[in-house]
Amino acid sequence: MRLNVFARLFKSAELDTRMFGMGFALVLIWIAFHILSGGLFLTPRNLWNLSVQSAPVAIMATGMVLVIVTRNIDLSIGSMLGFIGMVMGVIQVDVLPQFLGFGHPAIWIVALAAGLALGLVLGALQGALIAYLGIPSFIVTLGGLLVWRGAAWWVTRGQTVAPLDGAFKLMGGGPEGSIGSAWSWTLGLFACAAVIALLAYGRARRRQFDFSLRPIGAEIFLGVAAAALILGAVAIANSYPWPMGSVRRYAQANHIALPDGGLFIAHGLAIPVLIAIAVGIIMTFLATRTRFGRYVYAIGGNPEAAALAGIDTRWVIVKVFMLMGLLTAVSAAISIARLDAATNSEGTLAELLVIAAAVIGGTSLAGGIGTVAGAMLGAVLMQSLQSGMVLLGVDTPLQNIVVGSVLVLAVWLDTLYRRRKT
């Protein structure tokens, strides 16, 4: 196959054309919504909200990638999110204040830790049924979908738990749940430095072993592009001001006289978004730099070969589902914190959004192929469609029709792309 100019550029930079294609599709969707909505989509406010809304789905999608890569599926995460959310809600609202007193600073930590532990246990249970008893994951997690949703109702017999602990709520974003302008810039610059250090380290290692190096121009291009993306995102988050109500309350609490024109306090990056980014980095590290990740992909590529290579494939599968449970608990915390309430219907249909995000992000349902970054980008893409249509005032049934069609279309395009490549 002859390579055109762009393909050559990508190849020399070792960039993934597929990821680039997704980024391109995302930009197209954003511009289309911006025009259709009369300039409402590409605003700091909307993009900031989009980032917060995407966080829970993106976090779970990183785990779903590994689940699907091992040729499994997890249909239970939406219900599990509801159940874990209810448990965390009850712990911080009904249980802990009795012992620690209302508003005790340890409440959010204990509640979150309990939720994470519960996620690990539920995931381990499902994983063990799949790996050691040989029940297909589709069935185990389909059962889980019903069981955990029922359990979520049972926690309070259907009652909503609210309001939540003040510190816990910060995980949901909002004016207080964001880190403000100065910290956002600091973090952004730190991230830029980390990207440059990573590029330099990789280059030094390759030189040490006399491997072919990328052209230096490509390295610089990569570094500059990454830095521009990071700092651009920070700039956007920093140009979304707090709403008037929050500013007034803040001014009162700190005894500041409010000037006539109001006070510009920037949101900065939202805490749930930072959690999602951290999860993305950790999961990418796990998937690509550790033995565990290598085994996950090997099992997906050829389970028999993985077993013959001496890999304990069953234990790896259990760990994958434990990880999925843990990530579901993280998303549960963000979801209920954002709502400031735990309800037993939280997370309904989330499993489908998450699976769609992973698949749109390039995860192959046949197993063995998929990236964490792709799945997170897929989550942002799904969320962009959804919130764009809300912005345009599209009715819910039509939204579902569009999202469903886009999913099928995206997977079809991907199939074509893969077929052409081999």
């Binding site: 072993f209 290598r294 090997a298 028999e304 070969a305 001496g310 063995g368």
Partner: protein, 260 residues
């Protein structure tokens, strides 16, 4: 090969394995010495692959002992077998198609940096070395192995077996996917490894290869050993008679599967 150590490298004694009522391997005994190539031949379903899968830890066994270097070995899974220096090239190659050459070579035995992370660069460097020995023109280290040709994939499977200083090599149809020139390369490699003192079990349908490479031939039929012969002491027709009819020539050490 008259002058050899008295203790065999591997001895499989009275090995049996049944799937349901079907005796895949029926009280088979076979041994292998250092620097020796023993060919296992027989029809499809004769039990050769099952027997070597027991030795490589892929299948359990119902009864019998595996003795390595004079001591009873406990082999319950592939990891155990590798610990005894047993490496296997499976007929299916057993490669994970979606990952690259180095990842396949080191699968289950990854090199790690001092931080405990995968040391992909060091693994690639070693992969380049071992692949250079087998297939000097091979350059596609970044591609998943599914994109490689049949011969290249076979070299990857062979490279994996010799990368970790195996003492005992099991080769299940190692040349099935290869052209004439690559087949010759593999034959040269087998002679070279043999000279280095490895013991090799070779499963092959190609009697020409078998007579070319093996010191002894062990013929199996319906899960049992028909007999074991020295390659130098029999003709191809003798061996064909053993495979098809279960008829042992005079020179053979008869086994339980011999017809009388």
């Amino acid at each position: 090969m008259t002058d050899r150590a008295s203790v065999p490298l591997v001895e499989m004694r009275d090995i049996s394995l049944a799937f349901g009522g079907n005796h895949a391997v029926d009280r088979v005994s076979v041994d292998l010495h250092a620097g020796e190539v023993v060919a296992l031949v027989g029809h499809n379903g004769a039990g050769k692959s099952s027997l070597i899968k027991i030795l490589s830890g892929a299948y359990p066994r119902d009864s019998g002992d595996i003795v390595i270097g004079g001591e009873t070995a406990s082999i319950a899974n592939p990891r155990d077998a590798k610990r005894y220096g047993i490496e296997t090239i499976y007929q299916t190659l057993a490669l994970a198609d979606n990952i690259d050459t180095a990842a396949n070579l080191f699968l289950g035995r990854e090199l790690r940096t001092r931080f405990g992370t995968l040391d992909d660069i060091a693994m690639e460097a070693q992969a380049r070395k071992v692949m250079g020995r087998l297939n000097p023109h091979f350059q596609r280290f970044k591609d998943p192995v599914k994109d490689l040709s049949g011969g290249q994939r076979q070299s990857v499977a062979i490279a994996r077996a010799i990368l970790f200083n195996a003492r005992i090599l099991i080769m299940d149809e190692p040349t099935a996917a290869l052209g004439p020139q690559e087949t010759r390369q593999v034959a040269d490699l087998i002679r070279q490894l043999k000279a280095e003192g490895l013991g090799i079990f070779l499963i092959s349908h190609d009697l020409h290869d078998v007579f070319d490479l093996a010191d002894r031939i062990c013929v199996m039929k319906n899960g049992a050993v028909v007999g074991t012969v020295r390659t130098a002491e029999v003709s191809k027709d003798d061996v064909l008679g053993m495979i098809i009819l279960g008829k042992c020539p005079v020179a053979a050490v008869p086994g339980r599967g011999a017809s009388r």
